[in-house]
C-alpha cells in the first residue's frame, strides 16, 4: 500500500543518486579540460608511446576508450562499473576494485561504531539535559557540548594522537590491526582491531556527540511542553513509559534527517581521518591517490564512499518508515 510506495520511492531515489554520482565521475574524468584523461594522455605521449598504445593504456586504467564517441564512451564506462570494474590504479598498478574492496569493511567497521556511539551518547545526554533543564548539570553539559562541537574532527584526531598515542602511549596511532596477531576470530586479533579503531572512533564521537546532544535537548524540551503529555499523565501512565514512549520517540524522530547527513559527512571525513591514523581504509587510498594523481583510484574511492553512504541512508530511511507511522502516508513531509 502506501508504505510500499514509500519504500519504492526511497529505493528509486538511491538508485538515481548512485547513477548521478557515477555520471558525474564520468564527466569529471572525461570532459574536464586538463582533467584525468588529458593528463594521462600527456603522460603517455611523453613516454613516446604510439597513439594506439596510449588509447589502450587509457582504456585499461579508466575504462574509457577515447576513440569512440562520447555516448559510446559513457555507455562503456557505465557497463564496466556495473560489473564492479572500477578501472586500474596507476600508483599501485592493481585493480581498483581489489584495493578498495579489501579496504571498505575497515572503514565501515569503525564508522558504524562511531555513528552508533555518537547517537547513543548524544541522545541520552540530551534527554538528561532536557529533564534537568536549568540545572548546573544542564549548563555545564551545554557548554561542554558547544566546546566539543567547535573542534573539527581532524583537529581532535591530531590532539588525541598527541595526548593518548604519544604522551601516554595507551593506544596505537597507526594501522588497523596488530601485526603480530593471526587474522581470524581469535581474541588477540579482535582486541587489536578494536584498539586500532579506538582513536578514529574517539575523534569522531568526541567532536560529534555535542551537536546531537544539543539537538536532542531542544527537541525533548519542546516535547515536554506539549499538551498530550499532560493528558498522558492524567491517564495515569508511568513516568517511565511517558519518558520512553512519548518524549524520547517524538524527540528522536526529527533527528533522523540529521543522521542521514551525518552518515555522509562522516564517511566523507574518512579521507582526512585515515590519513592522520594511517588507517588503510577507503579514505586512506583516496588520500594516497591525491598526491600520486591516481585518478582511477580517486574516482573509485569517491564512488565507493558514495555507494556506502547511499546504502547507509537507505537503511536509516527504511527503519524511519518503521518508526514513524506518518512516514508511510505523507512521506514527503516526514523525511
Amino acid at each position: 500500500m502506501t508504505s510500499t510506495r514509500y519504500y519504492t520511492k526511497r529505493l528509486g531515489q538511491s538508485v538515481v543518486t548512485v547513477f548521478a554520482v557515477v555520471t558525474l565521475s564520468f564527466v569529471l574524468i572525461r570532459l574536464m579540460p586538463g582533467g584525468p584523461v588529458d593528463y594521462l594522455r600527456a603522460q603517455y605521449i611523453q613516454q613516446n608511446l604510439s597513439p594506439e598504445e596510449v588509447q589502450e593504456k587509457i582504456a585499461l586504467y579508466t575504462n574509457i576508450r577515447t576513440d569512440e564517441t562520447i555516448l559510446e564512451q559513457y555507455v562503456g564506462y557505465m557497463t564496466s562499473l556495473a560489473q564492479f570494474d572500477l578501472g586500474r590504479s596507476i600508483f599501485y598498478d592493481r585493480s581498483v576494485s581489489a584495493i578498495l574492496g579489501e579496504a571498505i569493511p575497515w572503514t565501515v567497521l569503525y564508522m558504524s561504531i562511531a555513528l552508533c556511539l555518537m547517537f547513543v551518547i548524544g541522545v541520552s545526554l540530551g534527554a538528561f539535559m532536557a529533564y534537568r533543564e536549568g540545572s548546573y548539570f544542564d549548563t555545564l553539559s551545554t557548554l561542554t557540548a558547544i566546546v566539543a562541537n567547535s573542534v573539527p574532527y581532524y583537529i581532535a584526531a591530531i590532539l588525541l594522537v598527541y595526548a593518548l598515542g604519544f604522551e601516554l602511549s595507551v593506544l596505537p596511532t597507526s594501522g588497523r590491526m596488530n601485526p603480530d596477531t593471526v587474522v581470524g576470530m581469535n581474541v588477540q586479533f579482535v582486541l587489536g582491531v578494536f584498539a586500532h579503531a579506538a582513536l578514529p572512533v574517539l575523534s569522531l564521537v568526541v567532536t560529534g556527540f555535542g551537536g546531537k546532544a544539543i539537538t536532542m535537548r531542544g527537541n525533548a524540551i519542546s516535547e515536554l511542553g506539549e499538551d498530550y503529555l499532560r493528558v498522558a499523565r492524567l491517564r495515569g501512565l508511568s513516568e517511565r513509559r511517558i519518558a520512553l514512549r512519548y518524549v524520547a520517540r517524538n524527540a528522536i524522530l526529527p533527528m533522523y534527517t540529521g543522521m542521514m547527513i551525518s552518515i555522509g559527512t562522516m564517511f566523507g571525513g574518512s579521507v582526512i581521518l585515515e590519513m592522520i591514523f594511517a588507517y588503510p581504509g577507503v579514505g586512506y587510498y583516496v588520500f594516497k591517490s591525491i598526491s600520486a594523481r591516481d585518478y582511477p583510484l580517486m574516482m573509485g574511492g569517491f564512488i565507493l564512499i558514495t555507494v556506502a553512504v547511499v546504502i547507509g541512508v537507505l537503511i536509516a530511511d527504511l527503519t524511519y518508515g518503521k518508526l514513524d507511522p506518518r512516514a508511510g502516508g505523507e512521506s514527503d513531509e516526514a523525511f
Binding site: 569529471l28 544539543i214 553512504v309 513531509e333
Partner: protein, 348 residues
C-alpha cells in the same frame, strides 16, 4: 485644525484629526527616517543579541577575527622568512608574542595575515550556500508540482553525496587558487540541507493568513515571495549563514591539510600542514607552531557556534514565548524544527 464633532461611522471614538492631517502631525525628515531604520534594523537586533551571554561572547570573538582580517594586515608587517629568531617559544618575546616558526616568522603575524583569505573564503562559501539554498527552498516550497519534485530530488541527491570526497575530486582536477572560488567549491553541496529546511519553513508560511490575504489581493508570486515570505526567513537564514561559515572553515583547513589545494597564500590550514609534516606533534620545540593555528580554528568556530546558538534562541518565537513567563531564561536552548534547524553543524 477643525475637529470633527460627529462620532465615527464605525461607532468608535471620534478621530481627533482627519487621516490626512494626522500624517502631517509628525514631521518625519529623511534624517529621522534614517535614524528610525537604523534603530529598527541594526540597533534593536544588536540590543537583543547583546542580552544573551552566548551571542555576546560569540559576537566578540567574531568581531576580533573581523578586525584581524581587516585592520590586522594594515598594522602588522607581512611575515617574511629569516627576519626574526627561529623557533622562539610563545610568551618569551613581546615582539613575537606567540613565538616564531623554523623560518623565523612570527606565528601571530602569520595568523593575522592568513585571516583575510579565510574571511574571503567564508564570504564566498556562505553567500553561495545561502543564495542557492534560499532560492531552491523558496521556489520548491511555494511552487508545487513538477518544479518541486525536480528541485527536491536534486536536493536529496546533493544531500546524500558525501561532501568531502566530492570536493576533493573536483578540487584535485580544478585546482582553484582564488579564496572565493575555494569557498564556493567547499560549499558545493552544503546548500542542500538548508534548502530542505527553508522549504519546510515556506510550506508552513504558505498558508499563513497574511500570505493568503496577499494572494487574494492579486499580488504576483515574486512579490509575495520577496515581501511576505523572505522577511520571515531572514533570521533563520542569518543563523545558517554562520553554520555555513563554519563548514567553510572546517573544509578549507581540511583540504589544505590533505594537500588538495595549492599552497598559494598564507593560510591556517597551510600552517597546520607544514607544522604537522615537520613532525611538530612529536617535538616540543616546534609544537607551538602546530598548536597555535589549531586553536585559532577552534576559537573562531567556537565563536560562530555561540553566536548562532544565541541568535537562534532569540529569533525563535516559540522558545521566546514559552519562556517569557518563567524567571530563569538563561539556559533555554534552541528549538530545532526540522532536525536541521540547529545552529550546530554536523561533524565532520
Amino acid at each position: 485644525m477643525k475637529r470633527s464633532e460627529e462620532p465615527a461611522a464605525d461607532g468608535g471614538t471620534p478621530e481627533p484629526t482627519s487621516p490626512f492631517q494626522r500624517v502631517a502631525d509628525e514631521d518625519v525628515g529623511s534624517g529621522q527616517r534614517f535614524r528610525q531604520a537604523v534603530d529598527l534594523w541594526l540597533l534593536a537586533p544588536a540590543r537583543i543579541i547583546w542580552s544573551d551571554w552566548r551571542a555576546r561572547i560569540g559576537t566578540l570573538i567574531i568581531l576580533l577575527f573581523l578586525a584581524m582580517g581587516t585592520v590586522g594586515p594594515m598594522v602588522t608587517r607581512e611575515p617574511s622568512p629569516n627576519t626574526g629568531p627561529r623557533l622562539l617559544k610563545p610568551f618569551e618575546n613581546v615582539q613575537y608574542l606567540l613565538g616564531t616558526d623554523p623560518k623565523g616568522q612570527g606565528i601571530l603575524v602569520s595568523i593575522v595575515h592568513a585571516t583575510p583569505p579565510m574571511l574571503q573564503m567564508i564570504l564566498g562559501g556562505a553567500v553561495f550556500t545561502i543564495a542557492v539554498a534560499t532560492v531552491v527552498g523558496i521556489v520548491a516550497g511555494y511552487k508545487a508540482g513538477w518544479t518541486e519534485t525536480v528541485l527536491m530530488t536534486i536536493t536529496d541527491i546533493m544531500m546524500t553525496i558525501p561532501g568531502l570526497p566530492l570536493i576533493i575530486v573536483v578540487a584535485a582536477i580544478v585546482r582553484p587558487e582564488s579564496p572565493f572560488v575555494v569557498g564556493v567549491l567547499i560549499s558545493i553541496n552544503a546548500w542542500a540541507g538548508l534548502a530542505r529546511a527553508v522549504r519546510s519553513q515556506v510550506l508552513t508560511l504558505r498558508n499563513a493568513p497574511y500570505v493568503e490575504a496577499s494572494r487574494t489581493m492579486g499580488l504576483g508570486v515574486p512579490s509575495i515571495l520577496t515581501r511576505d515570505v523572505l522577511p520571515n526567513l531572514m533570521p533563520y537564514i542569518l543563523v545558517n549563514f554562520v553554520g555555513a561559515a563554519r563548514g567553510v572553515i572546517f573544509g578549507s583547513v581540511g583540504l589544505y591539510f590533505l594537500g588538495v589545494l595549492p599552497f598559494s597564500n598564507l593560510n591556517w590550514g597551510v600552517m597546520i600542514t607544514r607544522a604537522y609534516n615537520s613532525g611538530a606533534l612529536y617535538s616540543g620545540r616546534i609544537r607551538h607552531w602546530l598548536f597555535v593555528p589549531l586553536f585559532t580554528v577552534i576559537l573562531l568556530s567556537f565563536g560562530l557556534i555561540l553566536f548562532a546558538q544565541g541568535c537562534d534562541r532569540l529569533f525563535n518565537p516559540r522558545v521566546r514565548a514559552r519562556h517569557s513567563t518563567t524567571l530563569d531564561e538563561e539556559d533555554v536552548e534552541t528549538e530545532p524544527e526540522d532536525g536541521q534547524v540547529t545552529a550546530t553543524v554536523d561533524q565532520p
